[in-house]
Amino acid sequence: MNVQVSLSRWLALTASLMGVLVIANPTLSAEIASADRRSDYEFMRRDTQAMQDDDAANPGMLWVLEGETLWNARAGEANKSCADCHGDARVSMKGIASVYPSFDDKREKLVDLEARINICRTDHQNAKPLPFESKELLALMAYVARQSNGMPIKSNTDVRLKPHINAGQRMFYGRQGQLNLSCAQCHEDNWGKQLAGNKVPQGHPTGYPIYRLEWQNLGSLQRRLRTCLSGMRAQPYEYGSVELIELELYLMWRARGMTMDTPAVRP
């Protein structure tokens, strides 16, 4: 027992040292200075911003409303609703989305918000997990994330997250795909510049899940990352893969302190 504890502590120590090395690596592009960090909202045109500003005009709010209905609906063999355990989401879910992805103690792995919702469904409602990008899962995500609207993204100090943050960072800065392009080349080195008809944003996840005009639908950060990857002509990771969740985690860490503006409208 003692040996196991020491081993995990040693691993954690090594991982955090590696983390320090990775972050200090001089060949990496510099992280955007805190004062220069801006929400992707600020890179949109005025009329798209106006769509997001007005709750009566923001299509994302349709999913928030649906999510509220689902929150209170009984589901699964346990015949329980989210509300039966969590009560009023406005209280119990306040700030929750701002600390995801996080480390799930029971499963000892990294989970994002949609994975967490499905864990609740299978473990506590005895219901089937909701499929990725399904209306129901997106609605619940939108409703839960909405309860963190206007709140800052938390800086998660859980030491178990460090190796995952570093893995996400390596993916962000690493060149990949047929174009041999890295996320950082656009979103760190060239944000604010024009690419086709749009300005390149910094790529912060403050608005998720988003109503994307290109999709004519609400979608998750996982979906957006997959489309970024295929747009870069790289192989998109599978839904629910640890790579996508690590990238989500890194992006949330990179955006720590920024205000959540969900559900956002994006081009």
């Binding site: 009566a56 299509p59 409303l65 509220e68 609605a139 004519q216």
Partner: protein, 106 residues
């Protein structure tokens, strides 16, 4: 899917012109897209939108495939009396949806 998001002022003065906003969830499949096997995805849109105020029609619109998904409208009406404003949408494949909002006019 929670179908409609309606925004009508709860109260208004008699004769005041009020703005009404409606947002309805619908894919508005144009009928001009093909799926991965090359088969045309059939049209599936909302075609008609009618708004009545205490039973009297105050606004009507005909939508075409060019109307964006999750159709959004802002239009105006005169607050004549207290009552109910009813919204009805109809479309392809027997689609039918309705919503309503109460207004107090003093």
């Amino acid at each position: 899917m929670s179908s409609a998001l309606i925004n009508v002022p709860a109260r208004a003065k008699r004769g005041e012109i009020i703005a009404i906003k409606t947002l309805i969830s619908h894919l508005m499949e144009t009928g001009f897209r093909y799926d991965s096997t090359g088969v045309l995805v059939p049209r599936n849109i909302i075609t008609d939108f009618v708004c009545t105020y205490n039973g009297e029609e105050i606004f009507r619109a005909g939508f075409f495939p060019a109307i964006a998904a999750n159709p959004f409208m802002i239009f105006y009406t005169v607050a004549t009396e207290s009552g109910t404003i009813v919204f009805q949408w109809a479309g392809d494949n027997g689609y039918s949806e309705s919503a309503s909002a109460k207004i107090v006019v003093e």
